[in-house]
């Protein structure tokens, strides 16, 4: 507000305080209003915005991840997280506050866009969102010298993705499948997506995910379309199928990770689910299966935002989780596909029964029945997200 004139000077000129307050208020509102007329516009290049790394002086690390995505201390069992803190002396604040990619994006976009810290040094996003954030210049390049394990042990199938050809910016945390989970104490096997969408004994007892790609990939598969290469018509048909299931009352809700509680409580009988969640729930009644039509496959990636102030610590974390011993221990707990070469051999020592579990170490044959999701342009993505969000409420 009027910096040029101090209140004293203003008073001398005979302008009342009232004038000052009102004038200042109007000026502030004007400036604010004007600056907002063209708000955002901050596709900032990361170069301008990368913060100084404080890792040398601060042994802390703030990690944001999805729920049920890491092992926990339990009696004699020492979690990988606790072990990491012991080994490195880094104090980790681990928060499971990512429940949905777009929701998390909305939470951090203002800070990331305006080049302000979000308080997080590392977070985990699904492929397409990771691509979007890297493209926007919000993610720091990893220092390869600090992550030798990543270089050495990343599964060959996960190296060189289109949006990060050299894995300069991202490191997969886990890979997983989207399929069907059901509660066998309530209903008979739910083997296909069409069962899920139409079987009358499931009416009002089905949930689907708010993640557009997970839900729509499965519906397209059920309609006979290919989620890796689909047309606008395929998309339109899938939206129609989904709308019908919603209007018929077949679908009870669209959810993030919280579906697992409702499934265990019996409020829902079957749902679209992520492969590791059922194992993590440790409930014998819950079953995860690959629907007849096929499954969706995705990876979640660790990213260090440009304003993450403990990058070197984050790199230690990444490197630690790319140690096959640690990776096997984590995989045995979370039951997602382990992205680390050599973890399968280590698994032999931890739990031999899991070595051949296709949900953790899928064979090529198993993978051939899974489908990714077509890369979308920013325009298409926002059009589809809009249409999808109109159906899910």
């Amino acid at each position: 507000m009027s910096e040029e004139t101090t209140p004293e000077e203003t008073a001398k000129k005979g302008v009342s305080r009232r004038g000052l307050i009102i004038g200042g208020g109007v000026a502030a509102a004007g400036i604010a209003g004007f600056s907002l007329m063209n708000r955002g516009g901050s596709g900032s290049s990361s170069g301008d915005c990368v913060t100084t790394d404080l890792s040398d002086t601060e042994a802390t690390l703030n990690v944001s991840n999805w729920p049920a995505y890491i092992d926990e201390d339990d009696g004699d069992y020492v979690s990988t997280l606790t072990q990491f803190q012991k080994d490195t002396g880094i104090d980790v604040t681990y928060t499971a506050d990512v429940n949905d990619n777009v929701e998390f994006f909305a939470k951090v976009r203002n800070q990331l866009g305006a080049c302000q810290p979000t308080g997080r040094d590392l977070f985990v996003m699904t492929d397409w969102m990771a691509a979007r954030m890297i493209d926007a210049g919000w993610i720091q390049k990893l220092d390869k010298a600090n992550v030798p394990n990543l270089d050495k042990n990343l599964l060959s199938s996960l190296q060189g993705v289109g949006w990060d050809p050299n894995r300069d910016y991202s490191a997969p945390w886990q890979t997983g499948f989207t399929g069907i989970a059901y509660n066998k104490s309530l209903v008979d096997e739910v083997g296909s997506i069409s069962d899920l969408l139409t079987r009358s004994d499931l009416k009002g007892k089905v949930t689907m995910l708010t993640e557009m790609r997970d839900t729509m990939a499965l519906i397209m598969l059920a309609n006979g379309a290919d989620p890796e290469d689909f047309s606008d018509d395929d998309w339109g048909n899938a939206i129609e199928t989904l709308t019908k299931a919603r209007d018929d009352g077949q679908i009870r809700a669209f959810t993030g990770n919280e579906y697992i509680n409702d499934l265990a409580a019996g409020n829902i009988a079957a749902c679209v689910a992520w492969s590791g969640d059922v194992a993590a729930a440790e409930d014998d009644n819950l079953v995860f299966l690959a629907p007849e039509e096929g499954m969706n496959i995705w990876s979640d990636n660790m990213l260090v935002p440009v304003q993450g102030q403990h990058k070197a610590n984050a790199e230690k974390w990444i490197d630690y989780y790319y140690d096959p011993v640690v990776a096997a221990k984590l995989a045995a707990y979370v039951w997602y596909v382990c992205p680390v070469e050599g973890a399968q051999a280590e698994m032999e020592k931890i739990d031999a029964s899991l070595v051949d579990n296709p949900l953790i170490f899928p064979t090529d044959d198993f993978l051939s029945k899974t489908h990714g999701f077509m890369a979308l342009s920013e325009d298409k993505a926002s059009q589809y997200e809009q249409e999808f969000s109109d159906v899910i409420g």
Partner: protein
Amino acid sequence: MEALQRVFGKNSAYWLIGPAAVWLAVFFAFPMLSLLSTSLSDPSGSPIYGYTMTWELQNYVEAVGDYWPYMVRSLWYAGIATLLCLILGYTLAYAIAFKAGRWKNVMLVLVVAPFFTSFLVRTLSWKLILADNGWLVESLKWLHVLGEDGRLLATPFAVIMGLTYNFLPFMILPLYTSLEKIDPRLNEAAADLYSTPWQRFTKVIWPLSLPGVVGGTLLTFIPASGDYINSDLLGNPNTQMVGNKIQTLFTDASDYPHAAALSVILMVLIVGMVLFYVRRAGTEDLL
């Protein structure tokens, strides 16, 4: 006032208004301007690269055209919840004000007690109570109130019950303050003049409690019509209220302009309804 002027000088009023005015400018006027400008921005922008303000009035037309059912549903649910709150709240407030005796303070604390825990946790606990295999649903099935496939959770009923529960204290407190001020002797006087209990209520108690009724209904209806937690946790995709729509437009669809337009419409609509209501109730001077 004179004492204040002695301390602060003749501009004391401004010094007193100052802090709140600055607070409101920063945390109310500024976000409002931002909301307005977003609502008039070109929707082809993106949250990453920003929006350009282009006086895009079309956003409003589209928001009304696409989302009016959510608006109607919100007002409908909030209306029923407010009515239920009024019935439940009035009887309770009346009892506390006139019949509670030495339990008055205890009962008032109990009314406020739910605020000691989070809104979210309380609504989540409704999920447990209304669960499909919970005792309540099982009992209602046994009594044949609910059919074999019947359920409470994920129905409009659950949403309205949740709204009623969550906003009930906002109804009770203003009603209590109004009722408590009524001189019980007025009631006795009416009785002495041979009025029936019903007449005593409609001619004495009710008119004198109107400020509380107006205050309570506003405090209940306004937040209830913008609420999205209840519908999110207790409803299904066909019970989504306008708050849910605004939330998903902001977060899931990243469509800020339409979300902002919808928010502005909701605000204008509610202010309009409130003004109309206050006029009709003839209580402008009581507020």
